[in-house]
Symmetry: C2
Subunit: 300 residues, 2 copies
């Protein structure tokens, strides 16, 4: 299981029952929350997503529509007597705000809140089944994107054949990694005799809020899915640039240059009640585009 569920797809001003940025990435048995605009905890309830499975939260930047819901979510976890640690990856300034909010409420969290300030590009989380890297995006204030890569052995064991060759199951992990097997009598079983290639590891790039920036296409090269903001429609490039945002065609161009498998468009302006123009314009540049509709889960 590797999928993303949209909780909020709107830009800063909530409108038309669209909410500020938040999405849940499900990867195997873990839930990762990326951004946490106001009302995210209510959206989690609405879509019946269990807060208890959430151990990692990533905040791209400190514009309120990306984090104002975080303190409410943390407070609710405390009221529900959460005990397991919560890891928070965010720009450094957020820690002081949270600590201040807990202090004025005389609240001591019943669980460890482990703050990981985003400081430089690269690997920020390594799990047994996935990694998360962060990268800069170009926005009005410091802003970070996140790249989640599934970890996958390059080969799968063909168990029938491995058994035929009397390879002990303790050696299977080495087979998956590509090693040959040397039996006790010295004969070599070549790796490709007992394994088949695994499907490629999947990946998801969340490009946060950003100007049109071709560097993102390099960072997200060959990802299975890219999320790119499209606050504005075509023809509004000047406004987009002035506000450090992107248009539909700019987002789709990044997906195209990245050779991404799919594009998820979000962060829609409150100016537009209808979203079909966003889709139409992006499809002209990049065919495999979908709108990040709230409540929908997209397989990666």
């Amino acid at each position: 299981m590797f999928a993303v569920t949209i909780l909020g797809n709107n830009s800063a001003l909530p409108a038309y029952d669209r909410h500020p940025s938040a999405q849940i990435v499900t990867i195997y048995d873990q839930l990762l929350l990326i951004d946490c605009g106001e009302g995210t905890q209510m959206q989690l309830s609405r879509y019946k997503i269990r807060r208890g499975k959430l151990n990692h939260i990533f905040i791209s930047h400190l514009h309120g529509d990306h984090y104002f819901g975080l303190i409410g979510l943390i407070s609710s976890m405390a009221l529900l007597n959460r005990e397991q640690p919560l890891h928070l990856f965010a720009p450094a300034g957020l820690e002081e705000i949270i600590q201040l909010q807990l202090k004025v409420a005389s609240t001591t969290l019943p669980f460890p809140l482990i703050f990981h300030p985003l400081e430089k590009e690269g690997l920020i989380l390594e799990d047994s089944k996935f990694t998360v890297e962060t990268f800069h995006t170009q926005h009005r204030i410091p802003c970070w994107g996140f790249l989640i890569r599934e970890k996958k052995d390059p080969r799968k064991v063909d168990k029938e054949k491995a058994v035929q060759h009397h390879i002990p199951s303790a050696y299977y992990q080495s087979l998956k990694a590509g090693y040959d097997y040397t039996s006790k009598d010295g004969s070599v079983i070549y790796n490709d005799q007992v394994t088949i290639p695994n499907s490629p590891a999947r990946s998801y790039a969340y490009c946060a809020d950003t100007l049109y920036d071709e560097r993102l296409a390099t960072i997200a090269k060959d990802v299975t899915m890219i999320y790119h903001e499209a606050t504005y429609l075509n023809g509004m490039e000047e406004r987009a640039t002035a506000r450090f945002h992107s248009t539909t065609s700019q987002a789709a161009t990044i997906a195209l240059k990245a050779n991404a498998g799919g594009l998820l468009l979000g962060h829609f302006s409150s100016k537009f009640e209808e979203l079909h123009d966003y889709l139409k314009e992006a499809l002209e540049v990049f065919p495999n585009t979908q709108l990040a509709i709230e409540g929908v889960t997209f397989k990666i």
Copy 2:
């Protein structure tokens, strides 16, 4: 027009589409927002309440379910290019939080945000048509209630009679205040010849979060309507006291002792999906009780 519209009636943990505390008091042409839990700006949109008419916000205390929605509301006002001043009455600690949140976002508000720290009981706002007083309530952290009183002249002018007696309209304000009129020939027109008694000034006491505290009945003496929290049902007095909250009967007893015209019950625990027990229990003590249902406007 003097009424209260409920935006949030739940205690800290949002549940069953009930939201954390927030209510709008409409008094003549002014909207006053009392408390501002997470999602209040969305609730304002949902119930089509115009943010532009909101010039005064009152925050009872710094538990998150009473203020986490404030920074989002302020940010949206900024995005909408509000220019008129916004007055914020709140415990002193809130100012630092807001300033920090604006700073990390590199946001400069396009309107004056005038912070009035709550420091002592008494008058905090005097308008031409109403006053707002504040008072302490007994909660785990410092907490303030608000008492809104309509200003009303004691008498109304009976225009037909005033004209018969040749009283100039410039003198009507004095008539309303109860003065007699002496005409140029020295004859006295007694006030009660040309005026009738006005209906009594209405008042609304918002008792915030609180323990059972009979002092509140004295403060809210004879109010037209009292809002009192009832987080818990009868039989949960011990828990209520431990958490500095009240039960239904405690809330109703305060309304009774205050000789209030009506009681509005709110701040319901997330333990209960159904609210009818709250009403039933309170009605046994105080007949004119209503539940603070979200989206409903109660005339004061």
